[in-house]
């Protein structure tokens, strides 16, 4: 899987989820709506059935009252009369009930409006025949039955039949609607379920893809990390090799440089010795031949030669010191550090003791605070701090009582020791330069072996101890050297890798 498709898969996850939710909600809403539709449809169908039932009941009551009336007229049986009277009573309420149940249908209302007078007329006819019969006019009753009874009954049956037809039509329509709604409900539910299943399948697929991609990425990262570790190890090895090479180079060069120096110095000195002899001999010869007047130019020549030789000698002496310093530096670079627990306050106080008279001579006060302890190389730290303090004492301002202070701050596995002085300071353009070999800054008015080695040595040592050295300074106000060192040296291998 390429990264672009993988990220597309990852991006489409929330979209899929949202789509799934939308579909689910739509299905639910449509289903609820359809279910109410189905319920409503079922109700309507039930209603139609009820109306049909009532119509049938009305028809039955009418027919039964008519047949009881006829039975009574034929047989004068009072049983027929009782049935007739019961049915007659039930007809009006049955008609009312029918009217109330069909009140929502205007067509049925129209039919009812037609039915009502017909039924009333039929009832009147029935009552009239019974009254005539009871009053003894059997012939009149029979005539009435024959004249209007039959037609009225036919009319009511026709209207009720129409109403029945209407209800049948309604029933079929409503049943069809109900079936339709049910079918839709089924379709929607089924389709929705399938859609959800498809979405779920796609989602699972995408999830598997992105999982695979993540695993691939993890594997790649792991490989890169391992690669990085080997690269770092290789670089470190190369670096230390280069460092050793430089140390060896410095050592060899300084030795080989020294060898010709011995010659130059030696023969220059020999020349110097011969010079005396030559001029003595020259003077003796001149005395023999009596050339007194050239004595002055002899003297000038002699001083010229002397000057030349003295320059040669002083230059060689300087060169020898430089080579000696280089040697010292390379030798220090080769020394193996011995980490040990060091009480820094005590170390600095003993360093201070060694330079006490030097400090007294320039009226400097050196104050060493309580310093945190450290695990590092004792000799290296002694050299670093004695160099820094020595320089601080050396470059104080004339006429101002010197004050040198050593403080420390501790943070997160590292300690920063600060050497403050109120000396002449270092110009900003010189701040990096002072750490270069054989370079110094400011006015050079201090005698001694200073050849600009102290800070270069200090920096080299501090770096080898896994730390750093920085300088902050205001000209004519003072200088702060900050030496930051790891609290424990050497660092554990795991920390070295990070």
């Amino acid at each position: 899987m390429t990264p672009s498709t993988a990220s597309r898969a990852a991006r489409s996850q929330p979209i899929l989820l949202a789509l799934g939710f939308v579909i689910l909600i739509t299905i639910s809403a449509v289903s609820i709506w359809l279910v109410t539709r189905v319920e409503f449809g079922a109700e309507r169908v039930a209603h139609t059935l009820e109306v049909r039932n009532k119509l049938a009941n009305l028809q039955l009551l009418l027919r039964r009252s008519e047949s009881s009336q006829r039975g009574y007229l034929l047989t004068s049986d009072l049983g027929y009369l009782a049935t007739y009277q019961d049915d007659m009573k039930a007809i009006a309420p049955a008609l009312d009930e029918l009217a109330s149940t069909t009140s929502d249908n205007p067509r049925q209302n129209d039919f009812l409006a037609a039915l009502q007078p017909t039924v009333n007329a039929k009832l009147d006819e029935l009552r009239e025949t019974v009254r005539l019969y009871q009053s003894g006019d059997a012939a009149g009753a029979s005539a009435l039955v024959g004249k209007s009874g039959l037609t009225l009954m036919q009319e009511t049956s026709t209207v009720i039949g129409r109403m029945e037809n209407e209800e049948q039509r309604l029933q079929s329509v409503r049943t069809a609607a109900l079936a339709n709604s049910s079918r839709w409900l089924l379709i929607v539910t089924f389709t929705g379920s399938i859609l959800i299943l498809v979405l779920a399948a796609i989602s699972v697929l995408l999830l598997r893809h992105s999982l695979k991609e993540q695993q691939d990425a993890n594997r790649m990262l792991e490989a890169t990390n391992q690669n990085l570790e080997t690269i770092v190890a290789k670089r470190t090895a190369l670096l230390s090799e280069a460092n050793e090479e430089i140390q060896r180079f410095a050592y060899i060069v300084s030795h080989d440089l020294r060898s010709p120096l011995v010659n130059i110095m030696g023969f220059a000195s020999e020349l110097d010795a011969w010079r005396k002899q030559i001029f003595e001999r020259l003077a003796a010869l001149r005395a023999q031949v009596g050339g007194e007047q050239d004595g002055e130019s002899d003297e000038a020549l002699r001083s010229d030669v002397e000057e030349a030789l003295s320059f040669i000698k002083s230059s060689i002496a300087k060169m020898d010191r430089l080579i000696g310093a280089l040697l010292k530096l390379s030798r220090e670079g080769q020394r193996e550090f011995q980490p040990q627990f060091i009480d820094m306050s005590q170390l600095l106080r003993s360093t201070l003791k060694a330079m006490a008279h030097q400090a007294q001579a320039v009226n400097a006060k050196i104050n060493i605070g309580e310093l945190p302890t450290i695990t590092s190389d004792r000799l290296a730290l002694e050299q670093v701090f004695s160099n820094l303090m020595d320089n601080a004492v050396k470059y104080l301002r004339a006429g101002v009582p010197g004050s040198i202070e050593v403080r420390a701050t501790e943070s997160d596995g590292a300690i920063t020791y600060e050497v403050h002085d109120n000396g002449r300071g270092i110009d900003s353009k010189d701040r990096e330069r002072i750490f270069d070999l054989f370079r110094r800054s400011g006015i050079q008015d201090r005698p001694g072996d200073g050849i600009g080695l102290a800070h270069a040595r200090a920096r080299a040592l501090v770096r080898r101890l896994g730390g750093s050295i920085n300088v902050e300074s205001e000209p004519d106000l003072g200088t702060v050297f900050k030496v930051t060192l790891p609290k424990r040296w050497p660092l554990p291998a795991s920390e070295m890798m990070t």
Binding site: H255, R258, S259, P260, M265, G266, A268, S269, E270, L327
Partner: protein
Amino acid sequence: MIEDDEGHARLIEKNLRRAGIHNEIVRLADGASAITFLFGSDGSGLVNKGRALLILLDLNLPDMSGVDILKRLKENEHLRVTPVVVLTTTDDRSEIQRCYDLGCNVYITKPVNYENFANAIQQLGLFVYVMQVPVTI
């Protein structure tokens, strides 16, 4: 005297003579000729049997290290009693230690300062003057 640097050799010789040394001084400019001179063409050292020798040895030679010559000298049954003075520019402590471990008798560093150099050689000369050198066996 095993010394590759012509100038050094001259200066050393001069100062030794000044100290009153009149013995023959044989200068050998490289390791190979030194080996041939000391051990002979057969390499046994028999050529020098019965001679009184004092060897001035420089460590930095063009073709080999003076330390190797020192080692061979002290391992040779005829030459091991011969006093060896290592006279070199190297002032490395481990190098000095190595030379004494191998049996060198005196180790002198050549100072660049000529006064010191002349002094050192002349004193060596005086020292050699009074010391008894064994005859090689």
